[in-house]
Amino acid sequence: MAEPLLVVEDLSLHYRTEAGILRALDSVSFELGRGEAVVLLGESGCGKSSLAKALLRLLPRNVAHHSGRVLLDGTDIMALSDERFRRDIRWNRISIVMQAAMNALNPVVKVGEQVAEPLLVHAGWKRAAAAEKAAQALARVGVAADFMDRYPFELSGGMRQRVVLAMALITEPALVILDEPTSALDLLTQAGIMNVLKRIKWETGTSFILITHDVGTSSELVDHVALMYAGQIVETSPARDFFREPAHPYGRALMASVPRLHDRADPVHIEGNPPNLLDPPEGCRFAARCAQRFAPCDREPPFARLAGGRRALCWLFDEGGRE
């Protein structure tokens, strides 16, 4: 098997807060192949955005503990100096579309200049060549060249999101991280953006990490699902298997809570709340809300291997749990 583009091993990230140590991520591991897309699927506070920021080393000052390895093409990018990471990795190899980035465009700089900026800052391009490349990047996401000379306030939300996407793609990175890229947009605009992303994935072989709580939208793009709950990855599965039937009980409950257009059965909501990450339970973190809870769940569950390359952090799939 070819070497994966990205390997994340045992990544942990804890923050220091006034109330104590917040365990945002605990021993997170997953892999991503070239030209593939994975979704980090989970609800608010599960750690999915922290994971994105950790991959790009865009961390706040109150980090209490940060460990693990992130291999990009076999190189541990966690071990690089800040300067080398900034020069070689961020934006050149991995770029990100932050949540609500379309509202963070500079209001007094023309669209074309903003799209070209990563080339000028991170790749040392000349202005004229960068402008030409910006026009191409904008065309790729469906924005006409005459938008180059406009200011962000003259554009609709959907257009601004496309501009932000063009910025992330202009350096032709191997990996683009998309943090809730469509969550603030209208339905038709969302579908249009997802179409753009699909086409880019098919045509350029760019890899994507999609971060979202929206199960339906994630099924539009991804090959793999990494399901997150309370700072941990609780299931990794091929998309084809996950969207038919998740393995982890949380995945099953999450799927049952999604309303479907032509389904007359009511969606079912998940009782209770996720645990407090200042003081997570010792055993399975989903146990308190799990319909299939049994005795072993008080202990830390194993990341059990299932058929078809699936894994689930759950005692149900472990021989030891049944004894």
Partner: protein
């Protein structure tokens, strides 16, 4: 030509009647020069019966929020008539408007923004009671506890003295609903009540609204851009585009056999979780919703419509047609 219908015929039991409502805003340049008119709501008529649950569906800027703000008396209508419980909103004096606000409960989109951060839950819920003349402290206390129980924040003692930031998003939205209910309104208007919440939480909120609506035989108007939830929470759907209704109908009919090309486009854009989605592009009409300052002539969807008929759709405004019984569509295709 099909029979043309009047989309809303007056009914004896109507709680709310809206006739040819227009809410326009004037744009000013330098504070006084007329710079155009935003036709946010531009000719909308409907009736709501007591106990009905209606979803108003449309994209940002279609006028759906202005429509409910007008119903709530927060924006003044430019033209047209709103009659609530037999009384016309246009002729109401200040005292009548205050009574109206007691008959209509409002559930805002962003619960955290809707709750004053410096007030405890008990104070937040006491305020409407005090304003509307419930002066007995014990009576207020009783009703506050009853409201918290009704929205599932139990035991009430655990929540009374908390402040909004100490609650989860779902719990905050339950407080907003409790506040909307506490004056026992006949009508609840909910503006995207779950768009800020996670899926597993939002289902609980929508079910709560539906349960309250059934138990109290309330009329519920809820605004959403998410068509996949409406079947579970509404009897009827109004689809809005550029200030007007383009299609109305019973929820199952509208979702299963949409008639208007815009409704069809919205439904086709919804991604139910399905592994096959990743392998195909979704049909999306090009362009963007029109300016409400200078809406296009004829049908307002014609510049984006895949089935546009030149010479007709771009010139003549489509009247209401009833291509299927009980389903009204403003589209020339049905002529």
């Amino acid at each position: 030509m099909n029979e043309q219908v009047h989309p809303a015929s007056a009914s004896a039991q109507a709680l709310l009647t809206v006739r040819d409502l227009r809410t326009w805003f004037t744009l000013r340049k330098w504070g006084f020069l007329h710079a155009g008119t935003v036709h946010a709501v531009d000719g909308v008529s409907f009736d709501l019966a007591r106990g009905e649950a209606v979803a108003i569906v449309g994209e940002s800027g279609c006028g759906k929020s202005t429509l409910v703000r007008t119903l709530l008396g927060l924006d003044r209508p430019t033209e047209g008539e709103i009659v609530i419980e037999g009384e016309s909103l246009g002729t109401m004096d200040a005292a009548a408007l205050r009574r109206l606000r007691a008959t209509v409960g409002y559930v805002q989109q962003d619960p955290y923004g809707a709750l004053p951060p410096f007030m405890s839950i008990s104070k937040i819920l006491a305020e409407p009671l005090r304003i509307h003349g419930v002066s007995d402290r014990r009576e207020r206390d009783r009703r506050i506890r009853a409201a918290l129980e009704e929205v599932g924040l139990t035991p009430p003692d655990e929540f009374l003295e908390k402040f909004p930031h100490m609650l989860s998003g779902g719990q905050q939205q339950r407080v907003v609903i409790a506040r909307a209910l506490i004056l026992e309104p006949a009508l609840i208007v909910a503006d995207e009540p779950v768009s800020m919440l996670d899926a597993s939480v939002s289902v609980g909120i929508l079910r709560l609204l539906r349960r309250i609506q059934h138990e109290r035989a309330l009329t519920l108007v809820f605004i959403t851009h998410d068509l996949s939830t409406v079947r579970h929470f509404a009897n009827r759907v109004f689809v809005m585009y550029a200030g007007r209704f383009v299609e109305t109908g019973a929820v199952d009919d509208l979702l299963d056999t949409p008639q208007h090309p815009y409704t069809q486009a919205l439904l086709a854009a919804i991604a139910d979780p399905d592994p096959d989605n990743a392998g195909r592009e979704r049909p999306v009409p090009g362009g963007e919703p029109p300016s409400l300052v200078r809406p296009p002539p004829g049908c307002r969807f014609h510049p984006r419509c895949p089935q546009v008929m030149a010479g007709l759709c771009d010139r003549e405004e489509p009247p209401a047609f009833e291509p299927r019984r009980g389903q009204t569509s403003w589209c020339w295709l049905h002529r």
